[in-house]
């Protein structure tokens, strides 16, 4: 787009990019090969990823290199070690990992192998959400190709490094994108997140040291190792370096997945990349980084898309997935849809989340269909404060509470109008008609 350097999506643009021959002709596995030939100490690989400042792209933004460094010293801990690649991409608005898996699976595999090398993991499990059939098939085919070429399995490229990569399928639970929920699911159980401590690096898959990383985070690794931390930091902002894949969806001219530097203004993403709000309409609200980050009003569209700026604006970077709402959109309906989502996805362990997600959904649903009550807004706020922060085993409770608080903060008047008028004041014909035909 605007002359920003890009690297993440370069190979994806090539025909047949998912195939080994095309991928290799365009650099795939070169970094791994050099690493193995040079015998670079694993600790150095961890160090460069740490210095790069790469932050997890799965939503939490935890520094990746730091997470890697939590793995215990193999000299003192002889348990098997695992990498789990979190390909459970289920955060509403988020569709970027899918692009990488479908179009550059070898890029992901190389990243996983380098990560496994750095952390001395003996195997990587790629946990793909069950609905992503193409991603799963492409990755499995890529593993098979890579194995045949000596790039996966025993003594990779003739070195002393062995690593297996296994594909694993989820079955439709957002909570399995939470790292400990993922591990429970991978072990063949209900995806109930585990309390922390212990942390995965201490006790993860089958009680062994494990690191769970998002697809896009892993995808960045070969580039960082190849070009160094300083190179990585030329992109993005100081506390949020690098490029990210921004999936822009909703009321825009050109929805899509775009590569941009962190710190780019949301306005530039919206207008230059996605063609602006569609149909010549005005912007009403936007969600910066997936549904759990909480919407922001149009007035804040100039906020830089990085972790600190969005946090200061009262939202979060999350997965960097922008959802755009135009002037005809009803934020109460949007809130109901998201509240329904968290109600559906709560695993049910924690009292606040199990009951609170359902309760919030019920309140928003009532308000949306014109049956709101005078105390509903206060109750929403009060419930959301009971559900967060950090009161539960995992952050799904927070993820449900934050959007609810955001809509009350920024669009209280619209909620009040629904309640006072006993109907949606926008009376979006499509929304209402469809509402009547479709059970909640």
């Amino acid at each position: 787009m605007s002359g920003w350097p890009t690297f993440l999506l370069e190979r994806c643009k090539l025909a047949g990019s998912h195939r080994l021959d095309v991928a290799r002709a365009n650099g795939a596995y070169d970094v791994l090969a050099k690493l193995l030939k040079d015998g670079t100490p694993p600790a150095e690989v961890i160090a460069v990823v740490k210095e790069s400042g790469l932050r997890g792209r799965g939503g939490a933004g935890f520094p990746t290199g730091l997470k890697w460094s939590f793995m215990p010293d193999p000299a003192r801990d002889s348990r098997p070690r695992y990498l789990a690649v979190n390909a459970d991409e289920s955060e509403p608005g988020t569709c970027k990992d899918r692009v990488l898996m479908e179009q550059d699976p070898h890029g992901l595999l190389e990243g996983a192998l380098i990560a496994a090398y750095a952390m001395r993991a003996e195997a990587a499990y790629v946990y793909v959400r069950g609905e992503y059939r193409t991603s799963y098939d492409r990755l499995q085919a890529a593993i098979d190709e890579a194995r045949a070429a000596g790039l996966v399995g025993e003594r990779i490229l003739g070195s002393g490094f062995s690593c297996e990569i296994h594909m694993h399928k989820g079955a439709g639970a957002y909570i399995c994108g939470e790292e400990t929920g993922l591990m429970e699911s991978l072990e063949g159980k209900r995806g109930h997140p585990r309390p922390k401590p212990p942390f995965p690096a201490g006790s993860g898959l089958w009680g062994s040291p494990t690191t769970v990383n998002n697809v896009e985070s892993i995808f960045n690794v070969p580039f960082i190792v190849a070009h160094g931390a300083a190179w990585y930091r030329t992109m993005g902002s100081e506390k949020s370096p690098g490029n990210f894949l921004c999936g822009i969806s909703g009321h825009v001219e050109r929805p899509g997945v775009y590569e941009a530097p962190l710190g780019i203004s949301a306005r530039e993403l919206l207008e230059d990349f996605a063609g602006g709000v569609w149909k010549g309409r005005a912007l009403k609200a936007w969600i910066p980084g997936g549904s759990s980050t909480g919407l922001l009003p149009a007035s804040l569209i100039d906020t830089p898309m990085d972790h600190d700026s969005l946090r200061d604006a009262g939202s979060m970077f999350g997965t960097g997935a922008m959802i755009v709402l135009d002037e005809t959109a009803c934020v109460v309906r949007a809130s109901e849809i998201l509240a329904r989502f968290y109600d559906h996805e709560s695993c049910g362990q924690c009292s606040q989340c199990r009951e609170g997600t359902q309760w919030l959904h019920q309140i928003f649903a009532r308000i949306e269909r014109g049956q709101g009550m005078a105390d509903d807004i206060d109750t929403i706020e009060s419930l959301a404060r009971g559900m967060a922060p950090a009161k539960t085993i995992c952050a799904l409770s927070d993820a449900a509470a934050i959007p609810a608080l955001a809509v009350v903060r920024h669009f209280r008047a619209e909620l009040e109008a629904h309640i006072e008028q006993g109907r949606c004041p926008l009376r979006s014909a499509g929304a209402v008609a469809a509402r009547e035909g479709v059970p909640a």
Binding site: S346, G348, S351, W359
Partner: protein, 482 residues
């Protein structure tokens, strides 16, 4: 042991156990639902909130059941933030929980009631319809499940996994639709089902046998010991105002049964509610057994014993150690070997508690010098004597129908809870059941278990040892005269 500061006092805490255990060990109450010391902690209910300060970190509110004990940790179980989070938790739990208290068996011993009263708010704010689930789901012969009342603490699930080692219940579905369920409506199996009703903090899992039987605040409770096998699990006997035993429940005993008891023992209380109690005494007269004064009956006992030199003494394994000592004295007096009737193994032994030996005081009596004889051996013994004293609760039943066939020349003196009406019986005296008297039994491992009187025996029933003493006194007096 690790040292922590708990509510202002420096105390010792076991670093192998979670913080909640240290709080309880030092009498600082923290509410819990999902946590139970006998089960794997999960930290899901979120109610055991306490405030901790560790090192330089700011104070934070955590769940005590999943918080490791750390040297120097400062713990406040009464911090306002802890109470606030507990209050919020309770509001969430009461959002769907049906207000069934007026018809719920758990009322009066319900942790949701108790903690709501202590920490909750008076009024709920929900306008939403409560979820509708199965309210009377039979889980077999023992348990009925009300899924609406369930707060998904998962103790019942973990009980079968952790304690009986065979999962039978699972959490099914997800989120607010979660339910507790068996597979394909199968009933629960095994001899330990009743424990999940004890574990359930609310009235979701209740005992079919106790359903609507009594309000728990009308039950008088006394510590006791189970009679159904030689494990001698510690129990509580619970008696309703009218004197009927309504419930046996396990009582925590570190060395014997921990928190559990088997269903055979749990539901044996019918055996304590014996109809046709003998309150007083009967003697054989012209038209059969006739009621008489206890004093006159004791005279008859003396007469029978003095008139017959070939004697025997057989006691039931329900007699206590204390009664056994008194019986030894009598045995010596009447010059017989002390014997107890030893029941056959019942085949119910398992890996958990039940020993398969339906004999509450085998070791106690053996230690005193009583000789075990099977029912057949006892009958053979009785057949060869002229008179016998049979003493103890259920002694007649344990010896069995063979008593009916004894030649009329054998004279039986029976001290039991009911009268034994067979031709051989000369005199019967009524005794207290094991829920009506104090004393001790000794279990299979040599551990003493106390009995307690949860109710009075019917009027006219006299204390066993007093009766034995009176018999001895009469015999002694006769010797003097002789």
């Amino acid at each position: 042991m690790t040292r922590i500061v708990l509510n202002g006092r420096e105390v010792e805490a076991d670093p192998k156990r979670p913080l909640i255990d240290a709080c309880r060990a030092h009498g600082q109450h923290v509410p819990t639902y999902c946590y139970h010391p006998g089960l794997t902690p999960v930290g899901s209910c979120r109610i055991c909130q306490v405030e901790v300060v560790q090192g330089e970190m700011p104070a934070r509110v955590v769940v005590a059941c999943r918080t490791p004990v750390v040297e120097g940790m400062v713990v406040d179980t009464e911090a306002p933030k802890a109470h606030e989070t507990r209050r919020e938790c309770l509001e969430f739990l009461l959002k769907n929980h049906p207000l069934d208290c007026p018809i719920c068996d758990k009322a009066g011993e319900c942790d949701l009631q108790d903690f709501s009263f202590a920490e909750g708010q008076g009024e709920g704010r929900t306008h939403e319809p409560r979820r509708e689930l199965a309210k009377r789901k039979s889980l077999g012969d023992v348990i009925v499940l009300d899924q609406e009342r369930c707060i998904l603490c998962s103790r019942c699930v973990r009980f079968f996994e952790d304690v009986t080692k065979k999962p039978q219940l699972a959490v099914a579905e997800r989120g607010a639709q979660s339910i507790i369920s068996t597979f394909a409506d199968r009933p629960l199996e095994g001899n330990y089902q009743g424990n999940i009703a004890d574990l359930c903090p609310v009235g979701a899992l209740t005992l079919k046998k106790f359903r609507f039987q009594a309000r728990v605040w009308n039950l008088f409770k006394r510590a006791s010991t189970c009679a159904e096998c030689s494990r001698g699990c510690s129990t509580t006997v619970e008696v309703l105002r009218d004197g009927e035993v309504k419930r046996f429940r396990p009582r925590y005993n570190e060395r014997v049964n921990k928190w559990w008891m088997c269903d055979v023992g749990r539901f044996a209380y019918d055996g304590a509610n014996v109809p046709d109690r003998l309150a007083g005494a009967v003697v054989r007269g012209h038209s059969g057994l006739e009621h008489t004064d206890v004093a006159d009956a004791l005279d008859s006992v003396r007469d029978v014993l003095l008139a017959n030199r070939a004697r025997a003494l057989v006691v039931s394994p329900f007699v206590t150690v204390e009664e056994g000592e008194a019986l030894l004295a009598l045995a010596k007096k009447i010059e017989v070997e002390p014997v107890f009737v030893s029941p056959k193994p019942n085949g119910l032994e398992d890996d958990l508690l039940h020993t398969g030996d339906p004999c509450p005081n085998r070791r106690g009596l053996e230690q005193l010098g009583f000789r075990a004889k099977s029912a057949e051996e006892v009958l053979a013994l009785l057949g060869e004597c002229e008179c016998a004293v049979l003493v103890g609760e259920r002694v007649a039943a344990l010896i069995g129908d063979g008593l009916r066939e004894l030649p009329a020349a054998v004279r039986l003196i029976v001290l039991d809870c009911t009268a034994l009406d067979v031709p051989a019986v000369s005199v019967c005296l009524g005794l207290a059941t094991y829920v009506e008297r104090a004393g001790h039994w000794v279990n299979v491992d040599g551990l003493r278990g106390p009995l307690g009187a949860a109710r009075r025996a019917p009027d006219g029933v006299r204390d066993t040892r007093a009766l034995l003493a009176d018999i001895e006194r009469r015999l002694s007096a006769a010797e003097v005269e002789a």
